[in-house]
Structures are given as C-alpha cells and as structure tokens.
Symmetry: C2
Subunit: 405 residues, 2 copies
C-alpha cells in the first residue's frame, strides 16, 4: 500500500517567498509604470568572473575529446579541489583540516539539508530564531522536531535560540542540552557575525556536552572584522565537535553553477568511535555521484591568484551596497544591524509596524521589495531583511526611496 | 549527545568495486608489462558530442555577462528542459506526461537514492536479485530493510525477486505484496529488458495492490527491440502507480556532467489524496537548489535534431561493442545474455566457477577485467558482467583473449 512519509505531512507551507512574489506581481499589475526594486532575495546579480568562465570553457573543451574526457567524478570530489580548499580556506588560516576531510558537493543548501541524515532520529536540535528555513525543514522531514504549536509558531522538540537586538543577535547557551546545534555566522538573515571568543564558548559547550555544531560559513567572504573567525576550526577543540559547510555561491557567484563543500574532521566520533566522516562519505557514495568536473575546475579557478582578486572585487561591490543601505538607513533615522560582515541588513521596522505591514508599506509607497523578518521565525517579527546583492544604481535608488518614506 | 543514525551502521561494506580495483592493481604490479583491459565499470568513454559542448560554451558565456547571467535555477528545473523532455521522451511516444510532472536533478543516482525518502519508513520494498546496489543501500539508510542474514546474504524485510536464466531474468510477481517495487529495464546488471506485455503485468499488479513502482529507465536509449517499452508510461494505468527515473549519462555521456530527471505523475496519490508529486517537489525545494544552468542547457541540446543524431552515434558505437562481445562469447561456446537492448552483457561463468573465481582467472590469464555477478546479489552468483563502454579496439582485443582462455 502506498504510504507516504508522515513527517513530510508535518511540513509547514513555505509561503514566505511565494507570498512576496504574489504581492509584488499584484503591485506591478496595479501600477505598471512603477519601477519596482528588489532587495529581497539572496541571489547574486554580478556575472561569473573571467577566470572562472575561462575554467568552464577549458573544462568543457576537455570533455569534448576522448583523451581528456572525464566520466564519473570521485564521489567525494577531485583531489585538485579538495587540496585547494584545504590549503586556502584552512591551512592559510592556521586551521588543521586535511583534504580528505573535505567533501565536495553541489552546494551548501544540499549539504545543510542532507547532513541531519547521518544523525539519529531522536536527536534534539537547536536553531537560532530567526533562522534559514532549510535547517528546520530538513529536520521536520527527518522526524526530529515533534509537533508544531500554532500559538507559539514553534516545534515542540526544537530548542530555539532567540536572536534579537536584546542580545545583539548572538544566541545564549541553552539550558536544555541539544544534540545538534545549527549556527550560521555571518548570519542569514540577521547579517551579524559571531566573534571568535563567543564562538569558542559554543565550541567548549559542545565538547562539554557531547553536542555537534553544524556551522554554516556560506557568507565568510563578507567578513571584515578581524575578530570574526572565517572558520569554526579557528576555535580550539572544534575538530571534535564541529562540521562546517562552505559555499561558492556568495563569494564567487556560483548560485547558478552549484558547488559547495562540507568539512567533517576525522576526530568527530560518537561514543563507540564511529567517525561521522565515514557516514557522510557513505552518504555521498550512495545518494550522490560527485559534483561535475566542469564545476570543480571552476571552483579550483576561484582559488587561483587571479580568481581571488576577482572575487574580492565581487564582494567589495556588494559590500559597497551594504554600506549604502546601512548609512542611508541610519541617516533617515532607522535602526539597522548587519551589513559589516555580511551582505544582509536587518532593520527594525519603524512605527511599531509588523514585518508584513512594513513590507506592504514599502512596496506600495516606495516600490521596494524586502523580506519580512517574521518569515524566518517568531523572533524575526518587527524586523525586515534587505540584501546587498543588487546593482549600485538600484541600491542607491532604493535607499533614497526609503529615506523619503 | 552525539548519536549517529543507527540505520547507517547496518550498511554492508561496499567492497565490490574496491576489491576489483585492489585485485587489478595487484595484478598490474606483479606483471607491469601486461596491458589490462577494463570492461568492468559502467562509465562511458566517448567524449561529449559537439552540440552539447557548444551548448556548454554558450551557457558559460551567458554566465559571464550581467545581462544574461543566471543565478539560482528553479528548484524543479528550467521550463525549457522540462518541456523538451516531456515532448521528446513522452509525448512523442504517446505517453501522457506533462512538463510539470518532470523534476530535473543532478542525476539518476541521486534520484534513485533519494526517492525512498518520500515514503513511510515501514514500507516494504521489493528489489530484483541481482540489483543495482543504490536501491537497497538507500533503503537500509532509510530503516526499511530489517536485519541482514549472513547465511542468506539477504535483508529480512526486503522482498527479493530472483532474476536468473531460469526465468529469463524477468522477475515473477511476488507472493508477499511490496509497497515499493524497484524495476530497472533495460536492466543493470543483467542487460535484459522487459517487454511491454510483461511490464504491463507489473503495472496492473501495482494498481491492484496499491504498490508503487520505481522504474529506472537509465538505459532506455539502448533499446532495439520494438516490443520493449522506453517508458513505463507506455503501459496503461502507469500514471497511478509509477515513478520513472531518467538519466543523460548513458545516452549522451553525461556521467561527469550530472543531469537526470524523475517523473512523478499528478495521479499518483495515497489513500488520503496526498500527491507524491508535491512531496517530491518539497524535497527538491528543501534539500536541493536546482541543477546548474549550464547542465540544463547541455541537456536541452541533447534534444535538438543535431543532438539526437549525435547521441544515436554514441549508442551505436557502444552497441557495436555489445555485438562484438555477445557474438564473440557465443562463438567461443560461452552462454551470455543481454547486449541487445542494453550495454551490459551478463555471461555465465564457465566450468562451474564462482563469479570471483572467474574474475581471478580472467584477470590472471587474459588481463581482462569484468564485474563478478555475485557482487550484485546472491542470484548473481555464477554470472559475470561485461560492459560495452570501452573502445572498439579494446573490446575486440578483450573478446579475443576470452576466446583463447
């Protein structure tokens, strides 16, 4: 008999971006003359850089000749990319991570959705509130979240870590001990980042309690504060308690190319000595067939000298937008956070408006689109996310409209 | 406390191809002068075709300019590819499948590993024996297989469908009713294919018993017999009981490019009316971020007139190898199956040798590598898989060596 996964039926509708899209379409239809500026979605707009494009063409040409054709990639990634990531992202920062602890994938979203699978179904997870929805939804699908409480807008078995202006968006250590702790720093959606000292407290907590931290470092390229760690492995003891997820999407514009990786150190083991690394490798070997050769060569190009110069240019371009938004909002008397170590600005809604009320007002009166903070969790209520991924021109225009609001 | 997924710990070691590789390396080391010919692995050797390579270059160039850059792809695939697949693979064969029932992915292996996730953990699965290991292993990870019986070399909750020469490698309808039935036709590893009449019996059985068929059609391009269906949707009633998985790997040589898709018809629902299509879409939306734009344009190129001509060339080349192997084995007095509608030849080992004994003998005496049938399941014992994915020259040389054995 056809029996569906009952945990899937518990999933909440993912109405956030579809509701945004519907409202934007309705506004445009009602006012066809208005130029709507979108600062809502976390997708990049600048093209791939010349070095990356050249690598794509070169790899494409290799695939065109029998002598240089590449069939199935190694499940865990080509050595050339794993070595480059180990050297550049870790050894260069003094982190003790080897190439064979790096698992190349088709992106950080896949990895952050799939990683829960190697853990027991009865693990209790902790997430920040507000939070990137994939951490929660993938655990709903995995049967770990209990039931949804409509009044609280929370899952019964999830430990929530509220992040608001009151705690400077830095989650407090929980009173109940979670088995799995999701931390994203620099954070989506709040745009804030944990300093090393604070992250070290979490690493120490995890080691003391036998918890595992899933550390999402997708936005590390945007860090400007030297006290903010780029990798959790900058903290001592992280090799025994932390998994780190990395992306090429936001630093190098690979959102449409799909490439990322996850680090699972060999020292991360359960009480019986089972290495999580081996379970993750087995998942890759069974349910994945390697990231494409072309993409892996494109990723390698990112680590070249020219590639690094180019991606610094991309990040600078977007961070100029972040500055424009931050300073423009401050000048107009808004309170806003983030945008220093991250491409996201997390503003407080003015006049006590709810997130959605401000969304509607901004769309109707300024034709600017952002993302209502409440869509990321109950503690996001009263906040609003703007992204720095637009063009300079549109970003300036949007800020001017916000100032005139 | 770190608690790993206990179902992962039940997984059997995947020693088949690693043992093959180890033995081959040892033989080469012992006899450095021998030219070993590998007909063991199912990876293609011919390069991507000119139309596909041109599409890769064109899409790569589009990604290099802001006006044509593509960020996140739609989770479920670009319309241009879903429409092309619907028109060419289904409507052209009289199958009633719409573009929005087609879900583009990074390959058939990912899909065939992930699809079990939308079903309940207590579903009972049926697999052919021998079988492509991913169907079984992904269900071990999903907690559906019970315990492994070392004596039988079988999982306690799995319904096995033996496929041997005695039933012409066509599985019998089971006496116990499975909830999920995996069928791969043309089959890996046996190289045989189900005729439409036989597949219709399975569709009727599934509809009568409320079972779902996961139909793996990765090798459909190799079908030569007009009585063998290319899609399960050629059978009447399949829309209410079947999911079909397709690949670009074996028809167009995309093993290193990664592209595939899965069809989940809207009519496939559980007793409460929940459409499996919606669950699969939700999985894509949560744990996947779309197949890359470049790959999807490459896939679209496969459906162009030039692309179709080119991939027919690839398939013909490999099927010439299949003929060489089949006829060569027959001429030497071996009994072999497959190779008519598939790139795999499934030979009986001579002289009552076990699969591994024949492997060793072939490697030592002829320096030819194949895959021991017992590695695909207990009913594969006494068989041996050869693939048609080599060059003409190597394939002929291998067959001559087999004939001299």
């Amino acid at each position: 008999m056809l029996k569906v996964n009952p945990d899937y039926l518990k999933l909440r509708g993912s109405y956030l971006f579809s509701t945004v899209a519907r409202k934007v379409a309705a506004s445009q239809a009602a006012h066809p003359d208005r130029q709507i500026i979108r600062l809502g979605i976390g997708d990049v707009t600048l093209p791939l850089t010349p070095t990356v494009v050249a690598a794509i063409h070169k790899a494409g040409d290799e695939m065109a000749h029998a002598e240089t054709f590449r069939g199935y990639a190694p499940d865990l990634g080509y050595g050339f990319l794993r070595e480059a990531a180990a050297a550049h992202d870790f050894k260069a920062r003094g982190c003790d991570i080897a190439a064979d602890e790096i698992f190349i994938s088709d992106g950080a979203k896949s990895d952050s959705g799939n990683i829960q699978e190697i853990f027991s179904r009865d693990c209790r997870i902790a997430v920040c509130d507000p939070v990137y929805p994939v951490y929660l939804d993938s655990n709903v699908m995995g049967g770990r979240t209990g039931d949804f409480d409509e009044a609280k807008q929370q899952w019964s078995r999830v430990i929530y870590l509220p992040c608001t202006a009151a705690n400077a968006f830095s989650p407090e250590l929980p009173s109940e001990v979670p088995d799995l702790i999701y931390i994203c720093s620099p954070n989506n959606p709040t745009g804030t980042a944990m300093k090393k000292e604070r992250l070290q407290e979490w690493v120490d907590y995890a080691n003391a309690h036998g918890s595992v931290i899933i550390f999402d470092a997708a936005y590390e390229a945007y860090i400007s504060d030297p006290e903010v760690p780029h990798s959790i492995y900058e903290c001592s003891g992280a090799r025994t308690c932390a998994i780190e997820i990395r992306s090429f999407s936001k630093n190098a514009g690979f959102t449409g190319l799909r490439l990322g990786y996850t680090v699972v150190p060999k020292d991360l083991k359960d009480a019986d000595g089972t290495a999580l690394r081996d379970l993750w490798a087995r998942r890759h070997g069974t349910k994945f067939n390697g990231a494409p050769y072309i993409q892996q060569r494109a990723g390698e190009a990112v680590y070249s000298e020219a590639g690094q110069t180019e991606i610094r240019g991309l990040v600078s371009y977007y961070m100029e937008n972040a500055r424009t938004i931050r300073e423009g909002l401050a000048a107009a008397g808004y309170t806003a956070f983030g945008g220093i170590d991250s491409p996201y600005i997390w503003m407080q809604t003015p006049d006590g408006l709810s997130s959605w009320e401000f969304f509607d007002r901004l769309l109707e009166e300024a034709s600017v689109v952002g993302t209502p903070g409440s869509g990321f969790g109950p503690s996001g209520e009263g906040y609003f996310r703007l992204t720095a991924f637009g063009t300079h021109e549109n970003t300036k225009a949007a800020v001017e409209r916000l100032q005139r609001l």
